[in-house]
Amino acid sequence: MSEEKMLVDVRELKQYFPVRTGWGKVLPLKAVDGVSFTIRHGETLGLVGESGCGKTTVGRTLLRLYKPTGGEFYFDGELVTEKNMPSLRKQMQMVFQDPYSSLNPRMTVEDIIGEPLDVHHLYSNKAERREKILSLMETVGLNAEHATRYAHEFSGGQRQRIGIARALAVNPKFIVCDEPVSALDVSIQAQVVNMFEELQEKLGVAYLFIAHDLLVVRHISHRIAVMYLGRMVELADADEIYDHPMHPYSKSLLSSVPIPDPRIARERRRIVLSGDIPSPLNAPSGCPFRTRCPYGQDDCAECMPELKEVESGHFVACHHMEDAARMKEGVQLR
C-alpha cells in the first residue's frame, strides 16, 4: 500500500475544539480523535457516520478551515503546513452541503464561479475570465445565458451545480464533498451524483465524499470509512463493507437504512441500537461504541481499540475480533 504514491495521506488527524463550561473551565471537545486514511488519485472515499461523529470536521480540517490540533496530512507526498497551504488550495476544493447558504445571495453566478479565478489570478483579461466561467458552466450543465442571474433564482440542484463549478474553477485534484446531495430532492440527487461520477472519469479528481445517505455513498464510493464519535471504526471496499460489515456499529448502521423496496423491507430484520449517541464532551472510556454495543464486554472500557487490518484492505477497530468472524454471518443489507 505504501509503495503507491497516495494523493491524500492523513495520519492521526486530531481536531479538538475548546468548549467553555462555566467559570474559566475549558474542556476539549474531541471532534476528530486520531483518524488516519489515504485516498489514491482519482479515487472516491466515502465517509459515513451520524451527526456529531466528526465527519464534516475531518473534511474542513483537511482544507484548513480549522487549525488541526494534531496529526499530519500529506498531499501528493508533500506535508501540508500553514505555509504551503495557500498554494495547495488550488489543488483542494470543497463542495458544501446546503446549496441555499453556500452561495452568496448578493452575487451573480458569474461572480460566484469567478471568485476562485479572481483570488488566484488565473486569467489575464476580462474576456479570458468570462470564457473560463462559461466553459465551467457548460461542464456542470448550466445554461450560459444564466451567467448574470443571482443564485436565489435557481433551484436546489442547479445551485449545487454552481457550487461544483466554483470548486472546479481552479482545476483541483481533490474535492471534499460535504453532504453534497443531502439537501436535494431524490430526482435531482441522481443528476448530481451522476455528474460527480462523470467529472471523476473526465478530470480524474479524487473525492472525499461525506454523507449520511448510505445508498448514495455506496453507489459513488470505491472505499468507505465509517466514523463514530470522532474515531474511525471500519474502513473497507464499498461492496465489502456493505456485504460483510464487521464492526457492530457498521452492522447496525447499515441495517437501519430504510430500503426503498417493500418486499425486502418487510422481511429484513433491523438491528436497532438502544440509546443515543453520547456527547463527544464526555465520551465513554475505551471503545467509544461500547455503551450501545450489543456485544460490549467489560474489557471494552479499558482501552481504545486500534484500527487493524483484519482482511486485505478491510480495517476494523474492535476488541473482539474473534467475534468478528461470527458477526460476519450476521445481518446483511440484502
Partner: protein, 354 residues
Amino acid sequence: MSEDMPKKNPLSLQIDLKKFEPATEEEKKQQDVMSKSTTFFRDSMKKLFRNPLAVFSIIVLVLILLVIIFAPMIVPYGYSEMLKFNGTKDKTAMNLAPFTYSVNEQKYMAEHGVKLFPHIFGTDELSRDYFIRVVYGTRVSLAVGFFASLIVLVIGVLYGSISGYCGGRVDLIMMRIVDVIYSLPDMLVIILLSVVLKELLDGSTGIIAKLGTNMVSIFIVFGMLYWVGMARLVRGQILSVKENEYVLAAKSIGTKSSRIVRRHILPNCLSVIIITTALQIPSAIFTESFLSFIGLGVAAPMPSLGSLANNARQGMQSYPYKLMFPALTICLIVLALNLLGDGLRDALDPKLRK
C-alpha cells in the same frame, strides 16, 4: 381501497389522435420558463413602492425637501431679519397672524399699489417672518439628523464589523467598551461638553460659531455615544452572516479576510444597516429638538424646530399657531421617516420574504 371515486372515461370518440403523438423537445422546453430575472435591490424597491404608507412618506419628505431648498430663494425675508419700515423696525409687524400684513405694510401697499409677499405663517415677537424661520429650523433639524446619523453609520459599521469579524478576544474587549459607553448618561455629557467647548471655541468664526457650541457638542456626543447601538447591531448581523456556508466556501477558496468582509459579509448586512440608519434619523431629529427645546441647541438667531417651539411656548395662549407650525413639522418629518424605515424593513428584510 374503495372504488367509489368519481371516474370519467376519457376515451370518448371525439378524441383527437394527433394529440397522442410524442411531444418534441422544444414543446417541452416551452413549458419550462424561468421566471424573470430580478435583482434583490430591484425586487425590494418594487415592494417598497407597493407599500402605500411608504410611498406617502416619500412624497411628504420630497415635498419638505423641495420647500426647504427653494423657499429661501423665493421668500424675500431672512430668518434673522426683522421687518423694517422706512429703515426702522416695523413695530406693527409683531406677532402677526398667518397671511396678514402689518399696519405699515398695508399702508405701503395701498400707496404703491403693489402686493408684498405674504407672511405665510405670520411673524414672531421680534417681527421676523415666521415661515422662513420654520423653513430654516427644518433645515437645521434635518441636517443635524442626517449628519448625526451619518456619523453613527460610519463609526458603528466600522466598529461593529471589526468586532464581529475578528471575534474572540478582540470582540470581547470591543464589546465591553461598548457596554461602558452605553452606561454614560448622554444628556449630562452634552451639557458638560457644551460648557467646555464654549470656552474652547469662543471667538471662533464660520460655521461653528453660527451653529453654536451646543450644536458642535451634539455632533460630538452623537459621534462618541450614539454609534454603540449601530455597532452592536452590525456585529450581531455579521456574526450571523459569518455562519453561512458561503463565507466558509470563500475561505476554502483562499480568499483574504478583507475581501470576505467586503464582498461576502457587508453586502449581506446592508439591509439591516439601511433600515437602522433610516430609523436613526428621526431619533436624532428628536434628540436635537429636545435639546433645543431645553435651551441646549443651536445658538440664536439660528432657529431650529425645537428652539422655535420653545420660544412659542411663552405666548401659547395668544398665539397657539406659533407652537403648532414647528411642532407639526417635527411630527410630519419624524412620522414620515419612521414609516419609510418600516417600509424599508418590510421590503429589505429577507426573513419576511416569501
